[in-house]
Amino acid sequence: MSFFQNEFLTTPKNNEIEVTILGTGYGESIILFIPGVGWGIIDSFSTKIKTNTVVPALEYLKGILPQQDRRIAFIALTHPHEDHYRGLDRILENFLGVTERVCWYSGNGTNELKQYLAFQKATGGRSLVGYPRVLTSIQNSIKNGAQLRRLSELTEIIPNRRIDIEDYGSTNVSLVSLSPSALNIQKYTEILLGAYPVPGRTLKPIEDREHNLISVAMLLKIGNVQMVFGSDVETYPNTNMGWNAIITNRDFPDLSADLVKVAHHGSENGVNVSAWRKHASNKKPIAILTPFIRGNTILPSEKGTNDLKKYTEKIGITSKIEFETNLYDYYSRNTVERGIKRKTRGFKIIKPIDRIGFIRTRMLLDGTIIENTAVPPAYWIK
């Protein structure tokens, strides 16, 4: 059974770049086709469609890759957030032996994070559920021939090299990570070390957002096209951290882009205006956002979106977050409605999704856009 309509499951030509971005409200995944390199996957999530748990990136690739050629050039995990790694173990297992590179941040702080997860489980707590399974799958992939790329500032996922492309000619291609900076890594490690348990005290919780400190943004260059994938990189006051570290990096003065996956779901911290001035320095790019909800905070924020409008040609969002207004559709008993109203000061049901949408852009290597599709519930806001 395919979760995508057949009319959308087409493959790009060998001289076309394809970027497909999926995100249903909790999670995001990017599928890339890079001419002369092949297919790549950045992050993964899983979602429930009726009674099925689906890994959208896997379903998409199963729908379009021919059985005889299922090679994957790289699989990358940008940071240890559940909405970025769920289902990645299934993807890695599905492409075991045919994945060329696995890429993740595995530097300082990684062992401390593993220890913290063990400490938490020892107290009956849970966080980063499923993450150990992803790490095991990464190790299996490496044992079965994939090369490890440890991501941080200036790691080459695809080193700069010359390639020949059918119907185009020769050109250079590179895919590089722009973050995390040394100071980001240091802060992250300090937070984890600070959470080391002390007998007689409760285990210090680590805020989910701290993991954004080691989030990996990437820059793709091929032909005359540049693309930036912002992951969950945020802006911090210190100029040597987050977006400020990226835009002041002497080795990456050119951050102009034809397409940008907007960082941190379009939050105010994710949309760094100085970075966007650079992205829009040649021409206004296409911006793609994945929505997110935490508590009462729904992203993209209105401010983030308004800031983007000045610097973008087009803005797409990969899904809609909607709420059910009528409790009776789900909880038809008076008892339940009374109980909910008595104990809560607000209660809203997140409308379950019944299909997976995505935004797909295909470009030629001179930057000509040949496809810009928003498959519902994905939609364009500009």
């Binding site: 348990p197 007689g200 508590g295 789900y330 109980g339 049901i349």
Partner: protein, 175 residues
């Protein structure tokens, strides 16, 4: 006639000729001092011990039953300490739907100053709506139960080490 006191905690001892053969116990049974309480999730209550002949029923002195009508697992997402409330995501396992709800500290804790001990982003809790049947009309009860925070002990380091080996076995294999 043989007499035997059945179980510990019955309100009154039951004299019986042959207790095991003739008792049909409701399930599950929780004995508390001076009460018999039967709690079931999804069936109408029946606390009757069918005892034939002259043997008396074990009477319930405080005969409350509770029936869970709905329940969710909650995870705290945002905490507003100064405003005195938090926002949580609730998962309804039965229907596989998620909700966002706001709760006042005062509705959850007797002492709101303990909020920062129990309520922090990531803290999990059970949220249940129950009906209670007793004498009179059924009443509705709404309960939020947070886990009691664990106080780290020296022996927990050993436990954590074993968990680490389980979670990350590759770290212990020779390359």
């Amino acid at each position: 006639m043989n007499t035997q006191t059945i179980g510990k905690g019955f309100l009154e001892s039951i004299e019986t000729q042959d207790p095991i053969k003739h008792f049909r116990k409701p399930f599950p049974l929780i004995f508390e001092e001076n009460t018999i309480t039967s709690i079931k999730n999804d069936a109408t209550y029946s606390s009757t011990l069918n005892v034939p002949g002259e043997l008396s029923f074990a009477r319930r002195r405080t005969g409350n039953t509770e029936k869970i009508v709905e329940w969710w697992i909650g995870s705290v997402e945002e905490v507003y300490l100064n405003q005195g409330y938090f926002v949580a995501r609730l998962l309804d396992f039965k229907r596989q739907i998620e909700s966002i709800a706001e709760f006042d500290f005062a509705d959850v804790l007797e002492d709101s100053t303990e909020a920062n001990i129990y309520i922090y982003p990531g803290a999990e809790f059970a949220f249940s709506i129950l009906t209670k049947h007793g004498s009179g009309s059924p009443t509705t009860e709404v309960i939020l139960e947070f886990n009691t925070p664990h106080i780290w002990q020296v022996e927990d380091f050993k436990k954590a080490e074993e968990i680490y080996e389980e979670l990350f076995p590759d770290d212990f294999k020779e390359s």
